[in-house]
Subunit: 386 residues, 2 copies
């Protein structure tokens, strides 16, 4: 925690005025407006059989009704524009969010059905809805491409379809999976990511649901809290798979973003990977650098739900050990119940580190412009809050 | 690392003379001598069909041939007594091991067959072999009961059969599993553990093999190094399952020992469990204490393969944060290739902490007598090395 005392007062002052990038936002959707984008035969099937999607809520509890903070009351009987207006007021303006990365709401369930063609059609519908109603509605809103991960060739097609849109900043998939993401099955997705310069993000969701594997290497867990712990375990498996299958050697410009899996586990995990790699590197000769170095170059992670050690003095050394200074990006997970408040969730940080975590790291990752000056931010905030 | 400088010199001197408890030892076995303990119909089946056991080696590499350090050359063409004599010389005497806890060698494969009756017969054979040839052959050797985890009632029967033997100190099962170990399916095992005052230990092995679940929540991994990383993830799942299913409330004297899953992950894992438990405790109201407190009271862990942070100054604070001072027990994993040397694997420790990790914690866990004085140790060592 060195040097924080010195900057503490100025920090308190400046904190309110700094704009941020929020890397994990879940806008609700008006389902009928999404369905309107589907081809007629799927609309008819939905009329007759319903959405036909396995969901988490059918197996596990959550932390709040619908997973949403009680005090957030989106006007769900309104239009998509009403939802966006509510979001602007309750989040973008309130916390001076300069860029908000949308990372899916109910739509991960699309990735749990065995019907890849239906999944592809639903992804297209959700992505179009997102572009038309949210990204086009506010310049601060950026989007992630939901893909039919069941069929990587169809996924690549969807990435090629909209990957060039200026409001699209990444490709996203659920943590729940049929195979670890380093598997060659997924390579068409990474080829498409590289074609468009988009990171590949994995967001915790749908572990053990539908076609995905049971959520742990010992099968199904029972309680929601075990389920939350299991999510991190699966992200660990994806990370090791990406590294040791050689994904980053084959796709040298690819960035892998781990969203909502916690962060402090990354430190001991990379220590262990480095240690084992030293002993076993002859078995994966294509991995030519220590895993920690691959993580530094290719892997980014978002902060929520952030763990704070009981001994807070451990936070900064652990963060440093996992390259958090360059690789950690702030996320609030708005409007979910376990929302991390942009100004209250972190231990004290010095100005430079705060700037990197709350803005620069994400700006570099997603190719976003430098932070506007404070005065510009003032002006623009007034312009957009009306 | 406070106060270590002061004690460094005395420590260097005393280190050689201290006896230790080694909590993870894998004695090889003479297979024919094990088979001799089986009922005739199983011996005949083995003659005709072979051992009929799925094994790790059929799917994954290892770090060395047979998983054994190259320089260890057990006389495998000899008798069980020859193996024990080799073990005495190469390990017990060499490192002044006062108690050595046997934790299985090839026998975890028993737990991967769907044939629970065959598994039970094999466990009985292995356990009898272990008692007759190893435990009875040297007072320093202690044993773990291998159980047919496929059928917890048969497992309990085996625990009741030999749980009272003075050389038996715990019940052991593989990390690879059909269900997380907090599941009520396993309760007959914990009832038997409590009846005999034996800890329940889980040792990494057989993840994804035979009837066990695939080794990660995203399915099968490819390389041995990913497999090693996955093992820790499964141990995490077992730990959360034991805590949140309420095993320790139902079995208040039960101790759970995590063997060979690494250690430093435990710190951020319990921070996260505590944090989530605070928010979600209404969903598991039988868990009345923070998970970290349950870990302190009921969970023990062995050290090998120990991770050392690149910034070594983090080691002791992390160890403290996970109650390592009372709950960590030294293990070498002899004779496996990733053996941790008793005197060289750890960062510097002060005398008290060293004493706890290398002796007292295990002595309390397994009900072993206090360390003999150094002079007694000298005398006895001379007596047993002949």
């Amino acid at each position: 925690m060195e040097s924080t005392a010195v900057v503490q007062n100025t920090k308190r002052e400046s904190r309110k005025k700094l704009t941020i990038i929020d890397c994990d936002i879940h806008m609700p959707t008006i389902r009928e407006a999404v369905i309107a984008y589907l081809p007629r035969h799927y609309r008819e099937q939905i009329d007759t059989f319903g959405m036909r999607l396995p969901t988490q809520g059918a197996m596990y509890l959550n932390g709040a009704k619908g997973g949403i903070m009680q005090e957030q009351q989106f006007p769900m009987d309104g239009t998509p524009a009403d939802l966006l207006a509510y979001f602007r007021k309750e989040h973008l303006d309130k916390y001076r969010v300069e860029h908000a990365i949308l990372t899916g709401l109910g739509d991960y369930a699309i990735q749990t059905t065995p019907d890849a063609d239906y999944a592809a059609a639903l992804c297209t519908a959700y992505n179009n809805y997102m572009i038309d109603h949210y990204i086009s509605g506010d310049p601060r809103v950026k989007g992630s491409i939901m893909i039919p991960k069941q069929d990587p060739l169809l996924a690549a097609k969807e990435i090629d379809r909209i990957g060039g849109h200026p409001g699209i900043v990444q490709v996203i998939s659920s943590n729940g999976a049929e195979k670890p993401y380093g598997h060659r099955f997924y390579y068409p997705i990474y080829e498409a990511c590289e074609r468009h310069g988009l990171p590949f993000a994995v967001h915790v969701s749908m572990e053990g649901i539908g076609i995905n594997h049971p959520p742990t290497g010992a099968g199904y867990v029972n309680h929601y809290i075990e389920y939350r712990m299991a999510r991190t375990q699966i992200m660990m498996a994806h990370l090791a798979s990406m590294i040791f299958e050689g994904v980053f050697q084959r796709f040298p410009t690819l960035k892998f973003v781990m969203i909502e899996a916690g962060i402090l586990w990354i430190a001991p995990y990379i220590w262990r990977m480095d240690q084992d790699w030293k002993a076993l590197r002859s078995q994966t000769p294509w991995v030519k650098e220590p895993p920690s170095e691959i993580v530094r170059k290719h892997v980014r992670f978002t902060s929520q739900p952030i763990e704070i050690p009981p001994d807070e003095s451990l936070f900064l050394p652990l963060l440093k050990s996992m390259h958090g200074d360059t690789n950690l990006c702030f996320a609030s997970d708005y409007p979910h119940w376990d929302f991390d408040h942009p100004f209250k969730s972190f231990p004290k940080l010095d100005d430079e580190l705060k700037d990197r975590i709350f803005y620069q790291n994400a700006a570099e990752l997603y190719g976003l412009p430098p932070r506007r000056s404070e005065s510009e931010a003032e002006n623009e905030a007034e312009g957009t809050t009306k």
